[in-house]
Amino acid sequence: MSGTGVVKLKIDGVEVTANEGETILSAAKRAGIKIPALCYLDGLSSYGGCRLCIVEVKGSPRLFPACTTPVSNGMEVTTDSPKLRKYRKMTIELLLSEKPHICAICIANGNCELQDLAREFGVDHLRVEREWKSQKIDLSHSFLVLDNNRCILCTRCLRVCDEIEGVHALDIKMRGKDSQIIIDIDDDWGSSISCTSCRKCARVCPVGAIYVRDEPISRTKNKDIAQFILLRRRR
């Protein structure tokens, strides 16, 4: 480790200087290199769940999630390669196959990060069988809606609720692909005593799983508003 707290590494052949302990994703972002990510959001802790930000590091056969892997001196990182694109595409297909994601009738159609990535990686069909399991929609809140049928379990909502709003009204029940977002201890949202109805969960949700009824979805999912809230809060 460098004693000065500064490390030097190469990302896609570009010399980058980063702070010790900083993640590859953060260093790349400062260098103007875009790495796709779904669960990561600036201003929230890293979760490393979606596996879309995987990168190659010279000297290691495995792939590393850029959002949780710290930089180190002399590291040589590749953020885009045929291999990475292949795995990212497969990951998107698996995310889409897990729930009945039907863009045509989804409220987030046109304002969805999963849809944008699917388009970017050329996902025009799924090579895996879909799970057509239907989950109950929570319509009990006066304006917030939770539709687990569209959730990709990125946990942005529960992180924003916990870390920014400071409430932790949302959490996860069950395990693996049966996991579901719940409110409090699996209560109806409308009867939650902890939720402050701040809407931040809807703002950060990358898909149409949490949204505000009667608000244009382009406003709810406006990334600038979400980023503004998160960054102001951190100051």
Binding site: A104, I105, L139, V145, P216
Partner: protein, 479 residues
């Protein structure tokens, strides 16, 4: 199996209609026609898979039933949702929704007339089937087709100016109203084309009237039979497409149901099911099944109204009525004429709406949440009365949905019409190739939209097979 019914002729798929269907013609032992049946061969299941979804998603889900008249489904669905909210939506929202529906009817009628049916009229029923299509018409009658495309585009542009999208505008029409107001410049853009479109439509009406004179033989054998007619009318009994009251007239033109609340449609209409078609058979309840045949759509609408309500369309309506008795025109082929008159009416209405200052207000949406657990929305879609009926739970999740698509109402009438045509053109069990197109042309006149039953695409080959009583093919005809 009934061995007496010795032969069956099958026309599958029926071409130049929207969606997939086949026709079977059942013959008696002596080769005469016993009956003909119109089968819808695909199953969609929209009524089932919307269960459990929030009611306010219904307009966007339901409009995906059809890419030809998504706006009509959107409106019927949004009206059912307005009913669930129990709100009176703002006047401007009604005007804008109505304007969009005019665009929808113009584009759908233009599609049916110019793209699907005109090849039969301009080229003739017996013309080479390989050339009897829109592409041949574009090459050989470019002026007419250019007009057809322009008229259709006019309708589509109205939809686009309002919602930003030409086909699925589901984000714009919402329960309680519409999402955004109409600006004056967009209205001006619509009006800049208005005069040309009106002139073209009038020209095509005159042209079609001349064609009809040559078709008197077909008109007589193409589904000329008495039925009841159903549709919506304004409180003054004029032509109505977006809202209005239910009216049913009998085959003599007598009003049997007048200005009834369309939300109580089930008091007048029952639905029967047959095991040979995925399309249900609605019937007029007082007459019972299968006697309660009624027709909907352009012909029916012109048969039930006292007048259209716009000057040019009213003038044309008077002429139209000369084809029938007691104000009732029974000839199925005249659906095309009625469609053109409606197109004219809608074009006139577009101007009327755009001249109304109320159209430009920004008071466009009423807000409410679930206040009623049952919602019914009824509109006049291009092909007839379209009914959406939802039941929701306390939270607003859909528990049950019932749809009566415009084309379904005509189901009983289809079978009568094609039986009549088959009887006229099939003798002694032998079918000629020209027969096929005449039977299909009867179906085309109704302009059935079976896209409400399928989106699948298959190479369109028309096949007729005649079977003997043991199921062996005795004659096979292909295009």
């Amino acid at each position: 199996m009934d061995r007496e019914r010795s032969s069956i002729i099958e026309i599958s798929p029926v071409t130049r209609i929207e969606g997939h269907a086949k026709v079977t013609i059942h013959l008696n032992n002596d080769g005469s026609v016993r009956e003909a049946r119109f089968h819808v061969t695909d199953f969609r299941g929209f009524e089932k898979f919307c269960e459990g979804r929030p009611f306010y998603e219904m307009p966007s889900i339901m409009s995906r039933i059809c890419g030809i008249c998504p706006v009509s489904h959107l409106l019927a669905s949004a009206k059912a949702c307005d009913d669930i909210l129990s709100v009176d939506i703002p006047e401007t929202a009604i005007l804008l929704r109505r304007l969009m529906h005019m665009g929808q009817i113009i584009q759908s009628h233009a599609l049916s007339f110019f793209f699907l049916s005109l090849p039969d009229f301009l080229l003739g029923m017996d013309f080479d089937p390989h050339k009897r299509n829109i592409f041949y018409l574009i090459e050989n009658h470019p002026e007419v087709m250019k007009q057809g495309i322009k008229i259709r585009a006019f309708g589509q542009k109205i939809i686009e100016y309002l919602s930003g999208k030409r086909i699925h505008s589901s984000e714009w029409i919402v329960p309680g109203g519409v999402r955004s107001p109409l600006s004056k410049d967009k209205a001006e853009k619509i009006m800049s084309e208005y005069n040309d479109i009106l002139t073209m439509t009038l020209e095509n009406i005159s042209k079609f009237k001349r064609i009809m004179k040559d078709l008197s033989c077909e008109i007589e054998s193409f589904g000329d039979f008495p039925t009841y007619y159903m549709g919506l009318v304004t409180p003054h009994g004029e032509l109505e497409h977006y809202d209005g009251l239910l009216r049913i007239v009998d085959e003599k033109g007598q009003i049997v149901v007048n200005k009834a609340d369309p939300k109580r449609y089930y008091e007048y209409i029952g639905e029967a099911v047959e095991n040979w078609s995925y399309m249900k058979f609605p019937y007029y309840k007082p007459l019972g099944y299968p006697r309660g045949v009624y027709r909907v759509g352009p012909l029916a609408r012109l048969n039930i109204v006292s007048k259209c309500g716009t000057p040019l369309a009213d003038k044309e309506l008077e002429e139209f009525r000369e084809w029938g008795e007691n104000h009732v025109v029974q000839n199925t082929l005249l659906y095309h004429y009625a469609r053109l008159i409606e197109m004219l009416f809608c074009i006139e209405k577009v101007k009327e709406i755009l001249d109304n200052p109320e159209t430009y207000s920004d008071n466009i949406q009423a807000m409410a949440s679930v206040n009623k657990h049952i919602g019914v929305g009824v509109v006049e879609a291009p092909r007839g009365t379209l009914i959406h009926h939802y039941k929701v739970n306390r939270r607003g999740l859909v528990e049950q949905a019932n749809l009566i698509i415009a084309t379904e109402h005509n189901n009983l009438a289809f079978n009568i019409a094609i039986t009549q045509a088959a009887k006229r053109y099939i003798n002694g069990g032998a079918a000629s190739r020209d027969l096929l197109n005449r039977i299909e042309a009867v179906i085309r006149a109704f302009d059935p939209c079976l896209s409400c039953a399928t989106h699948a695409w298959k190479p369109i080959n028309l096949i007729v097979e005649i079977y003997d009583s043991k199921g062996n093919i005795i004659q096979r005809l292909t295009k």
